[in-house]
Amino acid sequence: MLAYALRRLLISVPILIASTFVVFILSSLAKNPLNALKAKNPPPSPRVLQLEAERLRLDHPLMERYWLWLTGLFRGDFGPSVQSTMNIGDEVVSRFAVTFRLIFLAMLIALILAVVVGVVSAVKQYSGLDYTFTFTGFLFLAMPSFWFAILLKEAGISFNNAVGETVLYTIGDSSVYVTGGLWAEVADTLGHMILPTISLALLSFAAWSRFQRASMLEVLNSDYVRLARAKGLRRGKVMRKHALRTALIPLTTVTALDLGAIISGAIVTEDVFQWRGAGSFLLDAIRGSDVYVIMAWLLVSATFIILFNLIADLLYGVLDPRIRYA
């Protein structure tokens, strides 16, 4: 399995390099990073523009810029940002830390809910409960994420008004000042996390629960499950050890593949709740033609997506003993 993992990682490297090349070329050609500076009122002097162009390596040919960026990575140099005071390496770490805090918790909640709801829906197919879950799932699937997030904020404010104090927050991942010790800090962190986490989790949950339901139904109708029951195995054991385990494989694939979509979805959630994570990092970079920031974002998110896909592949082996890698 280790050899397989290493092989997969090595195969990913050229894919990663190819994607960085394409994105670097496209984002470099899209806009001139100096445009915002040129449009300032009062306008900067030609000397200022020249110095800025040199700092952003615009005085080098495009291919050379890419090479400088690629080789710089091995020295821990992510390149110069349009924002001269920014260290892209430090910034990308702190931004993704914020985003992953949001994403992982949301994914965990969404997965647990999806498995439970999917299994219950499949087992109780066409029951009132199944219809309720189906309705709820499609409701969340149909909701635009920004709209749902705004509704949640309004609901949070209504809740605060009802209890007479600010328990749920709508802006940022923490308050600027928290007094009252450790528990106050925990409450503050939770108060900031609840709404965005629910917002992100429920949207993923909706799709995943449908996958889980379909997958579970397929397995429940398969011959080997019927055989297991016919042999006299207990229903719970059949469900847990035979049906659920197999039915988790498609969800594992979908979850891994969805990571990219969740990172994209988090951009909206982060914006609505003003979490200064990777989403706003990317959006600001695109607006400001900050090529090297876009590249840093791509590098980190692509690496995580590759890793997640690898983890999903490895999990197949855990879930299904028939699959052998080495």
Binding site: R47, V48, K153, E154, I171, R276, S280
Partner: protein, 584 residues
């Protein structure tokens, strides 16, 4: 049993859905049952008394307190005098931290900073010489006196000669300063100009504030270009621990917030509040909910219909729409062949109905906005004159527009306008910033007016306003300029031949002459007259059609005193030390 459970779940789902839907529909977010509607009227007299509205004497204020204000950008560079650091939000944060000679007031005038200066006088017109008397007690937070050395340091970085590689926001005015000398233990500063500079109050004012020379000297030799640049860059990179104003920065959380606390070594009147937090909310549409939830107490976003209505429904919050120095305009690109003909430009601008455009855009949330009739002065500023109306431009008078074209030899063949040579006037593109609905609507209205004259104008967005302007990839553009209480140097940059901000390549020798003379006057009234003469010529030339002053919008909780709108680049924080919480 199973049926009961499913009913319970179904009922719970319905209740949850209903709760969400109700919260979406309710304007006051559920409120406290006391009814929505705006209770606050703290800005009620700001139209008639912009500089003193919402005032409260100290004895009616709480001692201390904390206020959080939303700002829309992170602080990327702390040096306001650099081109990168010259950002409105950075200016707001630093307004009460750095000393300056002058600041802009809500009525769009400027006033001397009386805490820093005892006087500022022109003691000679030829050569123009200004004498600043610094307050004897004025000092930096570490006890070092604020002195002529600080003025000299700023001048050296800004004049374009001593530090050519300092990436300054502007050299205007500083490059005309021949010498800055200190006397009286550095408390008198004498500034001599090589040629007159009308806007001399603009130098070392709040938009180009004073940084401490003694700290600069710790980071570079101030007698060499390299040393000056090193110190200049250091001020941009490092969060200020120094202060020469009523507040100092206590804490900066990157991308999150900036906290100000009183500067204990401030020599002037102490601030009322003991903490001011600037919370970074980069999406203006999220500000009303943050205000409603009490996470911020003051917001200052660009107004939009929904946002204004949402805020007006928040209990115990007052809001005010002001008219500031930012003004929208249609610009022609004079490199477009068809638009080189003045008659066509005049006709197109005449066909534009500015009042109708206002009614359909910004007029939806305020009735204060009126057509703007000057390219350099805003209504309320000394010097404002109507130079546009008499040309008929912006009136929407289609018949008059058609007559201009007919007189110039244009003809209409069906729905197509033909130029005097009998060739069809080619289709044009009008561009606006992607996502800006008001500008998109303005462009649609322009295209509609042009269609009446037989000219097809296609509306096309751009996600790169600066790049589009710079490359000239437009025929007509709608965008905004920020006017200034110091308009004379600005006018040269925007309208004279070959200047960086003259994107449409307008050139009129008479305008060049008048504006350059106006910028080098010692008498502001005479300078204003020259600018207005140039303004009239510009109106006649139909290069840029002023549309309206963009509204600004402030909202604050009713218990906040001395907070008021200031639509200049100083913003509402121009008097931050006066802000306070009303005693209950």
């Amino acid at each position: 049993m199973l049926t009961t459970k499913s009913r319970v779940v179904r009922a719970a789902a319905l209740i949850a859905g209903a709760a969400l839907a109700m919260s979406a529909c309710s304007g006051d977010g559920g409120g406290d049952g006391e009814g929505g509607g705006q209770t606050g009227q703290i800005f009620a007299d700001c139209d008639s008394n912009p500089n003193e509205c919402n005032s409260a004497p100290d004895d009616q204020l709480q001692d201390g307190g904390e206020v959080t204000m939303a700002i829309e950008k992170n602080i990327a560079n702390w040096n306001l005098n650099s081109s990168e650091g010259n950002v409105f939000e950075t200016g707001m944060v630093m307004k009460a931290v750095l000393p300056s000679t002058y600041h802009s007031q809500p009525d769009l005038s400027f006033a001397m900073n009386e805490d820093v200066l005892q006087s500022a006088e022109m003691i000679s017109e030829d050569p123009q010489t200004i004498e600043y008397k610094i307050h004897p007690d004025a000092q930096w937070s570490d006890g070092t006196p604020i002195s002529a050395d600080d003025f000299i340091y700023i001048w050296k970085t800004q004049n374009g000669r001593d530090c050519p590689d300092c990436a300054v926001s502007t050299t205007a005015g500083y490059e005309q300063v021949e010498s800055v000398e200190g006397s009286d233990n550095g408390k008198t500063v004498t500034v001599t100009y090589s040629e007159p500079f009308t806007d001399w109050q603009q130098l070392w004012e709040s938009g180009q504030p004073i940084y401490p020379a003694h700290i600069a000297a710790e980071h570079g030799d101030l007698d060499t270009p390299e040393g000056l640049k090193s110190a200049f860059d250091w001020f941009g990179t490092n969060v200020p621990t120094y202060s020469g104003g009523p507040f100092k920065i206590e804490r900066f959380q990157n991308n999150q917030s900036i906290t100000l606390v009183p500067n204990e070594n401030y020599w002037g009147e102490k601030p009322n509040l003991d903490r001011v937090i600037f919370r970074i909310i980069t999406d203006a549409t999220q500000e009303p909910t943050a205000l409603q939830n009490g996470e911020v107490q003051v917001i200052y976003p660009q107004p939009q219909v929904d946002l204004v209505q949402q805020v007006q429904n928040i209990p115990n919050v007052s809001s005010y729409i002001g008219l500031g120095l930012t003004w929208e305009h249609f610009d022609f690109n004079l490199d477009t062949e068809a638009l080189k003909d003045k008659a066509l430009r005049q006709a197109l601008f005449t066909a534009v109905d500015r009042q109708g455009l206002i009614d359909k855009t910004v007029g939806q949330f305020t009735d204060k906005v009126e057509p703007l009739n000057n390219h350099n002065f805003m209504p309320g500023q000394d010097g404002y004159e109507d130079t546009v109306s008499e040309t008929g431009q912006g009136s929407g008078d289609i018949e008059a527009a058609k007559k201009i074209l007919t007189d110039a030899g244009y003809t209409l063949q069906g729905q197509q306008l033909m130029n005097p040579d009998g060739e069809p006037v080619p289709d044009m593109r009008i561009r606006y910033t992607t996502g800006n609905q008001i500008r998109q609507d303005s462009c649609e209205l322009f295209a509609q007016a042009a269609r009446e004259l037989g000219v097809t104008v296609n509306v096309a967005p751009t996600d790169d306003l600066g790049g589009t302007l710079e490359s000239g990839d437009y025929d007509v553009m709608v965008f905004a300029w920020v006017a200034s209480p110091y308009p004379f140097a600005n006018a040269v940059q925007n309208w004279t031949t070959g200047q960086g901000n003259n994107f449409g390549n307008y050139s009129n020798p008479e305008v060049d002459k008048l504006l350059k003379e106006a910028a080098a006057e010692t008498n502001r009234q005479e300078a204003a007259q020259k600018v207005n003469q140039a303004d009239k010529i510009m109106s006649e030339d139909a290069y840029v059609l002023p549309l309206y002053q963009k509204p600004t919008f402030i909202a604050a909780y009713d218990n906040l005193a001395n907070v008021r709108n200031n639509s200049t680049l100083d913003g509402p924080v121009y008097n931050l030390k006066d802000w306070g919480l009303r005693a209950e």
